[in-house]
Symmetry: C2
Subunit: 458 residues, 2 copies
């Protein structure tokens, strides 16, 4: 019984008041994306596993919610795998679909599938739910809303700048304090790993991603554990310890790369992005070139960005994104992608705690018509029709229970005005309107002037 | 590869233009629900199987999309069931969650779980996706949007009337032709099955539901096949053949029920609902008491309603609902429910075919700033900022490719105006605005008056 009465782990119900706030935030995001002339698309909640698998990384693949094959298809269950303890293989034989894990991989599928109908550069936004069987934490859920903007087309640093500008625009609209956007480039990290003489960036990237939480010392410890030799670690720490302005860091990394005969294109790109952003006069974002930013997802190939929550909130990032060259078409420079995501729930949490939601989320006044018996309703039922046609929020209590109970209902539901037309009022051809917040009651003559009067009040 | 490039069966991608139409329809529905002072809730896409199972009926249960248990949980697989060919039992051992099948059962879980926070009568609306592993058909998908309003509280026929009035209100707003709403009551059908001397209403309900498609003769044939004796069938046909006005049918059924000593409460209720609806002056709905209406879902206990699509569309119903007494709490007359659902996709289809979407779904003008090289952008980049702050839709082409190609992009994306500030314009301190629909080009002096001028145009 108790299990019956709960939502699954990491999922939530939303009440009306919270939804008004969520809709406010969602509308700010959507309106902003539209101001930048991004076009909305939607994709299904369910994708073929073949679309999703091997795009994000092994850990992410294991966190997908898979759909159990139905009917006869379940006969394909690979019982031998089960017996051999190969649960992964067993699971794969039972499912060929999964819930969306993010919005980027479905976008790449959408673009590939509709190449001829799309105008490039394709600027799209998408605000839909995604599902991850992650461990729930503060601000992290198993079902959550992602709000993404992406530009698919030729690589061009103006796309990065435009997306960074959207962060700035949205955060300013929401009244957030100035936020730090960390920027790096996967190719810069590749350069560093070459200098470190390690084979694969992925050996260090997960450790790097934690570095702002765990600190340099622990980074060192983790890398030693991973079997990376101390000479390599020292080279990495050299880079992580470069301190100073963005320009100083850029110059220093460029110098090191040149010495080691590594292409400086990626450094030049970061410089160009930062310079162009400065022309755009960012108001709410401070750019910070950060060599420790790695970002987990497997598909990023170039620029990566991440916006941290204000320091007082220990909820990690509230947005991030990057460039993915090969998600739409391998090695096709005309169809590279760059996109960013807004962490809806975490931004919501910050707005809530900083008290940044507008007081008046709902400016329309609501009216409850008391019910003195179904026989009396016919006297004003058409006035209710007319008011609703004008978009005025009104309702009639569904039964003629005690008036006190009807007023209780109005109070609890925070209804603004109660309209009283009982036997006495009908006889005298008057009606009363009670202001529920002030407690005042006004009397008006002529029931046929009801619509007009209530329009004035509302 | 080809599987990679498709969405799963019965699911869809949506492009921007279609989404604008969908959002238009969704907003009409949501605004209407709010005018009647229903309050929005949202529930998770995933529910515990224990919440969903045994509420709808066996066939419906088998059409749920179940979530495959992950990690260690999959070890619970009931291999013996698999070997015994008990696929149902095998599937159940692999899953304890499923995607939402409708919005009513999750609502009942929500109410049970939050009894103390809810003000009754609880009038809620909900517009969320549901998933059914049904056979896709025209207007029927495996993932689709449901738009529901429900009232949970004491049984009161005004709740039925209010929901019928919402249908009327919405269909009028959408400009649909007058639609027929069929109304019946499960208890009336129970009464008829008692007169027929059959044990269970479910023996005839699925056949009844098809009767408007297959006709009376085939109904007879199907019932014979089901082993129902001809005397019983004749009694049923007697009822189905009652023809005339609603009032005539009501009187006739009441008479028969009285003769057979069956309670006429349910007939009286139908009469009362129809009478009160008439007071409400329905404009777009014609009520029709229809003894052949049964509605499939297992949880209905009283009034049932269904709105048919206009005759020229053979896509079945575009909405339906009913009263469910025992979904929230068994035998608790204070917590009965009545609710209706709008078939979003089918209504969309009708609006589309009858050309009822407004022409101007998007009244805001859009501007593309041509790109003559990143060095020139800094001269007007801040004007773009200012325009966007005023909600004006504008963008800058991300690279300085040939102007012809940039204009192509503007054309394909149906951008209204192109702003031209190249080398020549910069020298002369002028800018040009090209009206893309007319082809006109206007020249304006002073680049610093850009914002002001464009605001005038937009």
């Amino acid at each position: 019984m108790s299990q019956k009465l709960s939502t699954p782990k990491g999922t939530r119900d939303f009440f009306s008041l919270e939804l008004k706030k969520r809709n406010f935030l969602l509308n700010v995001l959507r309106d902003s994306f539209e101001s930048f002339n991004f076009q909305e698309i939607q994709t299904p909640s369910i994708e073929n596993l073949s679309t999703l698998i091997n795009k994000y990384g092994d850990e992410e693949d294991s966190l997908m919610f898979k759909i159990l094959s139905s009917g006869e298809k379940i006969k394909k269950a690979d019982i031998n795998s089960f017996k051999d303890g190969n649960l992964h293989g067993f699971a794969n034989s039972l499912s060929d679909k999964a819930l969306r894990y993010d919005l980027t991989v479905p976008l790449s599928r959408f673009v590939k599938q509709n190449l001829n109908e799309i105008t490039f550069p394709f600027k799209r936004f998408q605000t839909q739910l995604v599902w991850r069987a992650d461990r729930p934490q503060k601000g992290r859920f198993r079902e959550f809303l992602q709000c993404d903007v992406d530009i698919i087309g030729e690589k061009n640093c103006l796309n990065e700048v435009e997306c960074i500008k959207i962060y700035d625009y949205v955060f300013e609209k929401l009244g957030l304090p100035k936020l730090i956007l960390r920027i790096n480039n996967r190719e810069v990290l590749e350069g560093i790993s070459r200098i470190m003489n390690i084979e694969n960036l992925s050996e260090i990237s997960s450790t790097l991603d934690k570095s702002d939480k765990i600190g340099i010392d622990q980074v060192k410890g983790e890398l030693v554990k991973k079997g990376i030799n101390s000479e390599s670690i020292d080279k990495l720490l050299f880079f992580l310890n470069i301190d100073g302005s963005n320009q100083y860091k850029i110059d220093k990394v460029r110098e090191e790369f040149s010495i080691n005969k590594i292409s400086t294109d990626s450094i030049d790109l970061i410089e160009k992005i930062i310079d162009t952003c400065n022309q755009f006069e960012l108001k709410n974002i401070e750019l910070k070139f950060d060599l420790s930013l790695a970002r987990g997802l497997g598909y990023y190939t170039g620029t990566i960005v991440e916006v941290s929550a204000p320091k007082e909130f220990s909820i990690g990032s509230i947005g991030g994104g990057g460039r993915y060259d090969n998600l739409v078409q391998e090695n096709n420079p005309k169809l590279s992608g760059f996109g960013i995501s807004f962490g809806f729930d975490r931004i919501f949490l910050i707005l809530e705690e900083l008290n940044l939601f507008p007081n008046l989320l709902d400016s329309s006044k609501s009216f409850l018509f008391l019910n003195f018996g179904n026989d009396k309703i016919s006297n004003f039922i058409n006035s209710i029709n007319k008011l609703r046609e004008d978009g005025i929020v009104c309702e009639i209590y569904p039964s003629d229970i005690k008036i006190k109970k009807q007023l209780d209902y109005a109070n609890k539901k925070q209804i603004d005005f109660v309209v009283i037309i009982g036997e006495d009022e009908l006889k005298k051809d008057i009606f009363k309107v009670k202001d529920m917040s002030k407690g005042d009651e006004s009397t008006y003559s002529q029931i046929n002037s009801l619509v007009e009067k209530i329009k004035e009040i509302s």
